[in-house]
């Protein structure tokens, strides 16, 4: 799989949550390629096209990043800060998907430029439904920022 054609970057260290999210997204057939980063460092390497992902290009960003906040190595807030702080990556839509509902985290998230913030439901079915709706909204309803690689804003998705 070419790392340049990823539609969704899922940043999640919890195996159960990851499996559930992947399952929900794939079921809806919303995205052809989903890449999972297991910690903040891997997420940053992926998005900044360095290290193991040096062959990735800034011209082909993912359409959406689903970002957990509690991550090993580098936490979600720091990932968000770096991604939204760099002109090469700041337009990439980042949706925080985390178990925390601390008001502090919500406000910080939005202030740092997160496009949205979703609290992971505890309930299995609700979690699935939430991920599905988030996927539908950000991949179908929303128009992502155009890219040099493949911006096609005139395309009408039927």
């Amino acid at each position: 799989m070419s790392a340049n054609e990823v539609d969704i970057l899922l940043v999640e260290d919890n195996q159960d949550d990851m499996d559930l999210a992947l399952h929900s997204l794939r079921r809806e057939n919303l995205a052809n390629k989903i890449f999972v980063a297991r910690d903040g460092e891997e997420a940053l390497e992926f998005l900044f096209c360095r290290g193991a992902f040096a062959q990735r290009s800034f011209d082909h960003p993912p359409k959406i990043v689903l970002l957990d906040l509690k991550l090993p190595k580098v936490d979600g807030i720091e990932v968000l800060r770096q991604v939204k702080g760099d002109t090469r990556t700041k337009l990439i839509p980042v949706v925080i998907l985390t178990s925390s509902k601390e008001e502090r985290d919500v406000v910080d998230g939005y202030n740092l430029g997160a496009n949205s913030y979703i609290q992971k439901p505890v309930d299995f079915e609700q979690f699935r439904s939430t991920v599905k709706q988030a996927g539908l909204y950000w991949l179908v309803t929303n128009q992502p920022p155009p890219t040099n690689g493949k911006g096609h804003a005139l395309e009408q998705k039927s």
């Binding site: 337009l91 406000v107 939005y110 202030n111 496009n115 949205s116 939430t130 709706q133 911006g151």
Partner: protein
Amino acid sequence: MPPDTIEILLVDDSPSDLDLIRDALAACPCQGRVHTVPDGEEAIAFLHRAGVYASAARPDLIILDLNLPRKDGRVVLADFKSEPTLRSIPVVVFTTSHSRKDIARSYELGANCYVSKPGSLEDFRKAVQAIQQFWLSVACLPD
């Protein structure tokens, strides 16, 4: 999120579109309270609680058209997204244009997302309801 009424600020200069949007929003039980302003200047005044809007509610969500008289949507974005106390408010740019330039510009100015107004009545309603569904039922809005 505490179940207070969600305040939605709707910025659009087209009365016919405003009616359509309000109509579509009202169809859902989870609606918020909708405030409308017809141009960018009033939108900015509303957000800053200036003049007649001194006691305006702080919006939890803004639905913003781009092409507005006096000050357009881009000016509104530039204004409040650079304001520390206001910038956390999510903005959905909801506008006729499909152009790459407009989409890119909106994101650059801090729009959270961008939805092109569909042409057909059915799709228009679906789009509004999708916006409402996501932002009012799925996402957490900052207080």
